[in-house]
């Protein structure tokens, strides 16, 4: 099973919950702003500890409150593309892209050059994040997550702040990843129409 998740989290007054057991490679979670979508992604990545429940992805248990399992974020093998990108401002684009490779043993499906080409960011490699546009920043963040040889991908609003041409580009990249089928992907979006073309496995949070 690619995703086997049943968690309850806490975020102020809101108590987002996610229950999901599927073999689908790409799962989309939609819902209005404030429904707790990002909190759930933070739980799955290990940055936030859920109140209770369990998280298994591709057969690996990352969290299980009954058995006191809580794998730290650096050991979960997750490729997390944050909504706000979070590129390291003191590193060049190339150093950002290669950041995960310094700490993870697994090898990525792509080389730096292949991925930079695919994401159309080859010309940006020597630049600093502060000089990038919103769309460029987002593509570098996606590249950084993919190059870290992740066991699964978490995409938080991957199409926000992209113009239609770039959004189309990222959409087709996500479709390529889905078709390759070797990395489970959990995608969060506020827009149900946006995810409709990508996957039939859609969870709606209210």
């Amino acid at each position: 099973m690619s995703f086997d998740i049943d968690i309850q989290a806490r975020m102020g007054d809101c108590r987002p919950a996610l229950r999901l057991a599927t073999d689908a490679t790409l799962v989309a979670v939609t819902g209005p702003s404030g429904a707790g979508k990002t909190t759930l992604l933070n739980c799955i990545s290990g940055l936030v500890t859920p109140d209770y429940g369990q998280i298994s992805i591709a057969g690996r248990t990352h969290f299980d409150s009954d058995n006191s399992i809580d794998v730290p974020p650096d050991k979960r093998g997750c490729g997390y593309v944050f909504q706000d990108a979070r590129l390291f401002p003191h590193l060049t684009v190339e150093q950002n892209l290669l950041f995960g490779q310094k700490y993870r043993r697994g090898s990525s499906h792509w080389t730096l050059d292949e991925l930079a080409d695919l994401l159309n960011i080859t010309a940006l490699l020597s630049r600093r994040p502060a000089s990038l546009s919103g769309g460029e920043t987002k593509r570098v963040a996606i590249g950084r997550a993919l190059l870290s040889a992740p066991d699964f991908l978490l995409l938080d609003e991957p199409l926000v702040s992209l113009d239609s041409e770039r959004a189309e580009h990222v959409n087709s990249l996500i479709e390529t990843l889905k078709a390759a089928g070797n990395i489970p992907i959990l995608l969060v979006s506020h827009d149900p129409a946006e995810v409709a073309r990508l996957t039939e496995t859609v969870i709606r949070l209210d």
Binding site: L47, D74, C78, Y80, D84, R86, H90, F99, Y103, R104
Partner: protein, 233 residues
């Protein structure tokens, strides 16, 4: 007046620089550790730790010097331990002057570094964690390099505070020529003796030049590490 430095002036300058550099270099990692703990950790007693770190800033320096003498003097608990175990004495030595200068500089260094650590977005540290860096490596790769301007600012404030240190030093290690008579103590000593106006004036000019050089160097370092908009003055 503009003649080269005399041997005794060189001795004073060299001693001052040695005391100050040792004080700043030894205090730097301690100050950074305290700054990180105060910026990033919440624990019982945090307020007390914060207060103790800031004590040398608000206490009269003579009191700090006296407390150091009580602790590190030959009969003090730490001083006796150092003497018995390592055969090292600190009171009335230049190392004691460095200790006094370091203690007096600590709060200023902690404040500058703490501000820069607090300014490092924790979300960047989280991003590093999800990319496979454990806590320590995320600190080394993200928090430490991004807080370098604060480290430099703290070091220069510490240098300025240390090189001007007077009250705690004279109380703790006295005013021994060639051992603990740093620049401010030498100026003070000269002022007590009639007819030494020119000698005192020369030392004052040296103090001004040293401090200016340190400020210019720090501005250059901070700009180089953090871009042309950053500055410590």
């Amino acid at each position: 007046m503009i003649a080269p430095l005399t041997a005794s002036e060189w001795e004073i300058v060299a001693l001052s620089l040695r005391v100050t550099l040792v004080a700043v270099l030894c205090t730097l990692p301690i100050a950074y550790g305290l700054a990180w703990v105060l910026a990033r950790r919440r624990f019982p007693g945090r307020f007390l730790l914060d207060a103790v770190v800031h004590l040398p800033l608000v206490l009269p320096p003579v009191v700090t010097g006296y407390v150091l003498l009580l602790l590190f003097g030959k009969t003090g608990p730490v001083g006796r331990f150092l003497n018995d175990v390592f055969g090292v004495a600190i009171a009335f030595q230049w190392t004691g002057a460095a200790l006094a200068a370091g203690v007096m500089a600590l709060p200023l260094m902690v404040r500058a570094m703490r501000l820069s650590i607090e300014a490092v977005d924790r979300k960047l540290v989280q991003a590093a964690r999800t990319l496979g860096a454990n806590r320590w490596r995320a600190f080394l790769a993200v928090t430490l390099p991004l807080s370098v301007p604060g480290i430099l600012a703290g070091a220069i404030l510490g240098f300025a505070r240390s090189i001007g240190e007077f009250g705690a030093t004279i109380t703790f290690v006295s005013n021994i020529p060639g051992e603990t008579r740093t620049l401010p103590l030498a100026i003070y000593t000269g002022l007590q003796i009639p007819g030494t106006d020119i000698a005192v004036a020369r030392l004052v000019v040296i103090a001004v030049l040293l401090s200016l050089a340190a400020l210019i160097l720090s501005e250059w370092l901070v700009r180089r590490s953090a871009g042309s908009d950053a500055h410590v003055i």
